[in-house]
Every structure is written in structure tokens, then in C-alpha cells.
Symmetry: C2
Subunit: 484 residues, 2 copies
């Protein structure tokens, strides 16, 4: 990243700011320690000296933070250990605290909120819009949310209540209320005069929403068209009537797809009667896409949330434990499958060495199928009409891979153990387990989708469970029948 | 999604369009078949009747496609089997084909391009901007790219060559050339007059880039500020000087973070001398974020690209084979580790039943660590100064989990096999393999990052390899030493 030449030097990156603040904090701690120890040795009270040094250091850090975008401040706070983080947080002014909280990662946000009393939170909330407060609300104590509601004036309170009412994943949860609308029976001249009454138009305003007398949406007039139009012309001859709008209950994911497909910057949200209730901006869409991406990456390995780099060991163990416990249960069941064949293994220990290959490759292949199905589900490409075709194709691909790789492994097993029958069992077990993997790889995500769970997140545990247990069962079962 | 009330009914969704076109195509095929068979039976040439029916059907499909956004046309083509897809593709007019290709998924794009001769491709390219052609170029035959270059006028050719020169993942590959810039020594009035000469401003133009006499970037003037400003005022008193700009070589990922953090709609791209060479829009950023997200999800399970729902079995097997082969190799090595302990397993077959649990939980736990490290790497939060802290924390979490879950499993193994020593070995092996998993979970993504590979994509194969092999080795080794 670079800034215009005018500024001579490149502005520091967020990382550089973080390093600088971390150094200032370290220096402060060092000085504090020294003064403290000196005071102890001299048996004098060190407050006066400390106070002076302290105030200097603190002023330097505060000044640095003041000039930064709230997103950069959040980044710095995320990169600091808890004690330093809270020192820095104390230097962020009340009117900027809300914006910083909005930008901070969930786990870090929790530590910052925990450091504020309810009056401070209510104070910081006064500088936020209703949709922003709603974004923070899940992390706030219920009684603080009540306090915030009571501190609002009537209009703001109504907006906030509306924003709080939409569940995550809906357009209502994405939308804000910074709608600039205009009647369609005026000229561009009048529209421009109206806009000049704004000190500054809301961020990401690329169009005016055109409404009738009772605020029903009729279309949109892009600002860039207004700019290049003759002032005498009536709005009604200029605006787009065929625009996309959303209802607050629409799925946020559909909105994200539409924003990407149609290159939108903002889009109106209307209620069932066609009245504008808010707008969605590309900024909130981009944030939504990124956050979901992150939640899915974490969810795939069973993490409920990202971890603060500096969180306690205990908090981390709690975040990761349930997943390990679940996997322990599925692994235990697979282990009992093997246990049922202990007699066979005692007679031919080679089975124990070969069985993880059959199970493992099944898991790999099934995860490929699941990943492709999850993608198709997300794009709405899986329909009853092509489900059969998909199934047949996956079974065919599994057969092809099973013949090829099962064959390779069968030959390897044969050569390794000088046992043709063992090679044959290996090859057949691979083929069968790949077919099982294909079936499970299709049906598990479809079933999760049917039951309203995100198939991108939970499919792989169940899949691995099936391919492990069935892989062991098929291989050891065939071996018991044909080899012993 | 809903559209304004004015239109009375809800516009159909892309899925509904797809269903409608699929039905029209099916009807067409049916009629064609009937006519054909009738013709055969009557021993007459069926062309005339067929022609008439055919033209009717085709007109209906063509009309339907014509009214749709290129993104929706691409969606429909993706949802059709190859033969139907090419019929529909033949009905897309030349001036819209480029836009549809841009929106189509890679695998489907390939099938569409394969259906065009080079004259058609060059013709379609004439309706695209330089940056759009550059996006398509990797999928085009080299000689066609040459033909397209030759067909351009000088300015366009220079832009196209510049666009082609930036590797994927850089800002240069994201940027377009639709820059609207203005000198800083004019009034708003003059700026507005200048803008009126445009028929329509480029999509996603939210600001004019302010430049000096030699096109060096000085700042930006948001359109919304221009709108609400007095026409008499000079631009120089209005524009933002402290704006973010990128160099074409910057990483696209950094740009994406900046767009999200600072809520940008567009940002200028400047060369080393500070001259504007293009701009990045939030549209291209959103597309980049989504595409990378998808590529990572696919890459994690070893898929080089998404698969066309209707691709051949052979193409699919080729797409998935290399990953299975790689996993086969690592599984084989792990299998040889077990093979080395076949003597122990013959004496105590319970080892074969328990060993997959030790290996599996190690893999799960290591993948959690890796996922968190990959996230921290992406956010630039891993520095030499906190690497040690991270390592200690992960080892501590692994120890906590190892003591808890190793203890649980140890007791289960003891009760199941009535063998205290076996339980002890199980618990100790779990603890040790979780520590191995923590080390591998940290070092593998760091090493991949160091060697310039995407740690989000390839880490898990190596990790599973380590946790499987080491899990088997630790458990069977301990068992051999203490139990036999």
C-alpha cells in the first residue's frame, strides 16, 4: 500500500503502528518497574516521579492512537497482550470506542467490553448508529442493552428495536438506516438543493432512492447520473425503475450473491407494503462474506470462535475441547469395529498395517465429494432433477478412482506381503470404501442442509466417521471371509 | 429478494429462469426427436417442419436470455448439461458473450470457449475492457490473445498489455482503467461541466481522482461532496489529500483488507512516480474475496478447480486423482510404521483397535492449531516477538487437552481390556501425540508461508501425515516397551 507522493514518505502500515505502540508500552512498563523498585529501596513513595513519566508515556501512546482509523486501533489492540491492551484501550476516547469495538475480533471485543462499566458502554453507544449498536448487542449484558435503549430518543429507539429483531444471516441484520430518498416529481435542481442541506451524505451512498408520497420505493437515481444531468430535468424521467430491493427477512447470503453478480454499492430494503425501511451497502456485504468465510474455516475444525492470541490456556482448551470429545466418540466407535476383528488381526497382523490406508483414502475422497456438493448447494445448483445425475456421476468417479488406486495398492500389498489374496482383498476394499465415501459425501451435506445446519461446517466429522468405520469393517470383514 | 411494488409481481430468481430455460430446451429436444422419428418412418426429409418448430423454440429461449443480466445467463449456462448449454450459448449475442464468460465459473467457461472459433472470441473481446480481457486471457489459446491484441487500437493495446503483465493475486490483476480524474485548480462548476460530457460515469465511481498537470495523484474528491458543494468553490479546497492508494505490485489481499477496514468503494493505483495507472473497485475486491475463499475450500481437499456439474467422469477423476495419490503415499508411510510393530500387534491385537484413536485425535487437534495459525498469518498477527508465546500457549493447551482426554481414554482402555498398563500407555501416547500435533500445527503453516505456498491449502496433508505416523509410532513404541 502506498499513499500519494505528496506526503513524501509512505504512511506506516497497521503492523508498523502495532510495533510502535507495543514498544511504547514496553518502555512504559520498564520505567514503571524501575521507579517502583527505586522507591522500594529508598523506602520513599514513588508516586510523584512515576506520575510524571507515566503521563509522558501515556500521552505519546494516546496521541499515536488518536490519529488512526478505528480499524487500525482495533488491529493494534488485537495484537497486544491483555494488560497492555487494556492500558491502550483506556486511552481511546469515548466517541471512538464504539467504532473500535465494531472493528475488533469477537474474542478481543469481549475483553474490551469486560473492562468497561455500563455507564461507559452506554456513553460509547451514543456515538453509534442503531444498526451498529445491534451488531454489538450480542456481546453486551442484557441490562446494558436495556440502558442503551432507554437512553435513545424515540426515533432511534424504534430503529434500534427493529435492528435488534432480525436474526443473524438475514438482510435485516446487515441493513443500516442511512437512507437518502427523494420524491419523483421534482427536478434535478431541487434534488441538488435538497442534498446540499446535508453536511455530508452517508458513507457508500451511490444513489438516491426514489419514493412516492408515502415512502413507497419506486426506483433509484444513481448520483453519477444526477451529476451529469441537466438541472432542469425532472427526476421522473431519469431514475431506474427496475432495481433490486430486499426484504429484511431475505437471506443475507442471497443479498451477497446479488451484490457480487450485479456490482451493487447499495440497495434498498423494503417491507411487505413496499415502504423503505433501510438499505444494505457493499461494505456490510463484504464484511458479511469475510466473517462467514472465517466462521466456516473455524467451524470445520470445531472451533466455536476465533481465539484471542493472548487468551488463557483454559479458555482455549474450552474452545477446542467439545470437538475433540465428539471426535473421540466417533473414533471410539471405529475402534470397536476393529476390536470385533481382533481374532483376525492376531492371525494376520498385516491387516492392522493396511487398514488405516483403506479408511484414510475413503475419507479423503469423500471430503472431495462433500466439498463439491457444498459448493453446488451454496450456488443453488442442486435440484431434485439433477440429484440423480450427480449421484451417478460421483459413483462413477469413485469407481474409476477405486479401480485405479485400489489396483495400485492391491499390487503393492501383494508384493509387500507376498500374498495375492491379501492384495485382492485390499483392492476390493478400497473400491467399496470409495463407493461408500461417494454416497456419504453426497447424502451427509444434503441431510445437514435439510435439517437447517450449515453443511460446510459439520459434514466432515460425520463423513470421517462413516469412512473410518466402514473402511475398517469392509477391509477386515473381507479379510476374515477370504483370507482366514 | 424482491423488487419494487410497482412491478406488481416478484421478478423470477435466477433459479426460476434456469428451470424455465431447461424446460424450453427439453421441449425443443422432444419436438426435434418426434419430428425426426416421424421423418424416418415416413421416409421423408424432416427439415422443413423441424425448422419451423425449431425456430419457434429457439426464439423463445433467446428472448428469455436477452432480458437477463449476464451474471444470470452465466448461472443458467452452468446449470445446463453440455448439449443444452451449447444450444443456449449459441443464442447469446456477440456483444453479451464476453460479459457472460467473465461471470461464468472457470470449468464452464472452458466449455463455452471451446465452442467458439477464434474469430468469435476476438469479436466478443471487442465489447470488453482491457482488464476484463486480461481476466479471460488465461483460459484463451495464446494465438487468440495475440489476435485480440492486434485487433485493439494503440491505447487499448497498451492497457491490455499492462493488464496482462500483472500476476494473479496482485492489485495490478484486480485493477481497471476507468479512471475519472480532474485537475485541482478548477471550480466545482467546471468539474460538473466536465462530468456532463460523459454519457455515463464508469460503474462504481464514487470519487474523482484529483491530479496535477502531469497526472500525478494528489487526492480524491468524493462525488457526494461535489454534489452538495457550492459550484463556485475551488476543488483544491474540497478534496481529501490523505487517501489510500495502491501500487500495481501490492498484494491483492492487502487491498481487500484495506477495502474492508476503511469501507472503500474505489481506490487509485499509482506507479512508482505517483502517476495514476488505474483503479481498484469494491466490486473486484468482493469477487476476489469470494473466489479465493472458494479456491481455498477446494484446495483444502486437493481439488485444482471447481467441477462443472456435468463434466465427464474422466475429467473429474483427473481433477481428484493427484490428491488421492499424494494421500496414498503418506498413508503408505504411516502403514509401514505400523508394519514395523506387527510382532507386537500379533501378541496384543487390542493395539490395532486403539491406535487409530491416538492418531485421529492428534490430527483433529493439530488441525485446530493450524487453522488458528493460518488465520493469524492472514491477519499479519504472527511476528517473531510473539511466536514464542504462541508456541508455549499451544503446548500448554495440548497438555491440558492431553491430560483430560488422554485420561478419559486411558480409563476406557483399562476398563475395556482389564489392563491397567494398557490404559497408562494409551493416556501417555495421547498426551505425547497432542504435543506433536501442536508443534506440527504451528510449524507446518509457518514453513509453507516461508516457502511461498498458501498455508490454508496444503497444511492439512502434511499435518495428518505427521500425526498419523507419529501417533502410531508413539503408541505402538510405548506399548512394545512397557507391555510386552
Amino acid at each position: 500500500m502506498a499513499r500519494p507522493r505528496e506526503e513524501l514518505a509512505r504512511s506506516p502500515s497497521p503492523q508498523e503502528h502495532l510495533d510502535a505502540v507495543a514498544k511504547l508500552l514496553a518502555k512504559r512498563r520498564l520505567v514503571e518497574d524501575l521507579v517502583h523498585r527505586q522507591g522500594e529501596r529508598d523506602n520513599r513513595r514513588p508516586e510523584l516521579v512515576e506520575d510524571l513519566v507515566h503521563r509522558q508515556q501515556v500521552a505519546a501512546i494516546g496521541k499515536r492512537l488518536e490519529g488512526l482509523h478505528p480499524g487500525d486501533v482495533a488491529y493494534i489492540l488485537e495484537g497486544l497482550p491483555l494488560d497492555d491492551r487494556l492500558v491502550a484501550w483506556g486511552l481511546v476516547s469515548e466517541e471512538r470506542r464504539g467504532d473500535v469495538l465494531l472493528e475488533a475480533a469477537d474474542s478481543v471485543r469481549e475483553t474490551l467490553i469486560a473492562d468497561m462499566d455500563s455507564a461507559q458502554i452506554v456513553g460509547a453507544a451514543e456515538y453509534l448508529d442503531a444498526d451498529e449498536i445491534a451488531d454489538l448487542a450480542p456481546d453486551l449484558p442484557d441490562e446494558v442493552v436495556q440502558d442503551i435503549l432507554e437512553a435513545q430518543d424515540d426515533e432511534d429507539r424504534a430503529q434500534l428495536q427493529s435492528a435488534l429483531s432480525y436474526p443473524e444471516g438475514t438482510v435485516g441484520a446487515l441493513m443500516d438506516f442511512e437512507v437518502v430518498s427523494i420524491r419523483d416529481d421534482v427536478t434535478c435542481e431541487v434534488a441538488l438543493r435538497y442534498l446540499r442541506r446535508y453536511e455530508e451524505l452517508p458513507s457508500q451512498t451511490d444513489a438516491l432512492f426514489v419514493v412516492d408520497r408515502v415512502d413507497h420505493l419506486k426506483g433509484a437515481l444513481p448520483l453519477k447520473r444526477l451529476l451529469v444531468s441537466d438541472p432542469e430535468v425532472e427526476i421522473s424521467t431519469l431514475y431506474d425503475r427496475d432495481i433490486l430491493s430486499f426484504s429484511p427477512e431475505s437471506e443475507a447470503d442471497d443479498a451477497a450473491h446479488a451484490f457480487e453478480r450485479y456490482d451493487l454499492v447499495s440497495a434498498p430494503v423494503v417491507d411487505v407494503r413496499g415502504k423503505i425501511v433501510g438499505r444494505v451497502t457493499v461494505e456490510s456485504v463484504l464484511e458479511f462474506v469475510r466473517e462467514r468465510q472465517e466462521a466456516q474455516a473455524l467451524g470445520k475444525v470445531g472451533l466455536r470462535e476465533e481465539e484471542d492470541l493472548f487468551s488463557s490456556v483454559w479458555a482455549s482448551a474450552k474452545n477446542r475441547g467439545p470437538w475433540l470429545a465428539l471426535n473421540l466418540c466417533t473414533a471410539f466407535v471405529a475402534s470397536r469395529v476393529v476390536g470385533a476383528f481382533e481374532g483376525s488381526i492376531e492371525k494376520l497382523a498385516a491387516l492392522a498395517a493396511l487398514m488405516p490406508i483403506v479408511a484414510g483414502i475413503g475419507g479423503n475422497s469423500g471430503n472431495q465429494t462433500t466439498t463439491l456438493i457444498v459448493r453446488s448447494l451454496a450456488l443453488g445448483q442442486v435440484s431434485p432433477s439433477n440429484a440423480r445425475r450427480l449421484l451417478l456421476k460421483e459413483l462413477a468417479v469413485a469407481t474409476a478412482n477405486g479401480v485405479i488406486w485400489g489396483g495400485v495398492l492391491g499390487i503393492v500389498a501383494w508384493l509387500l506381503y507376498r500374498n495375492v489374496a491379501l492384495g485382492g482383498v485390499m483392492a476390493l476394499a478400497m473400491l467399496l470404501n470409495l463407493l461408500v465415501a461417494a454416497l456419504a459425501g453426497i447424502f451427509i451435506p444434503l441431510a445437514m442442509e435439510r435439517f437447517g445446519r450449515d453443511p460446510a461446517v459439520g459434514s466432515s466429522v460425520f463423513l470421517t466417521f462413516v469412512t473410518d468405520s466402514m473402511g475398517f469393517f469392509i477391509f477386515l470383514g473381507l479379510a476374515t471371509v477370504f483370507l482366514l
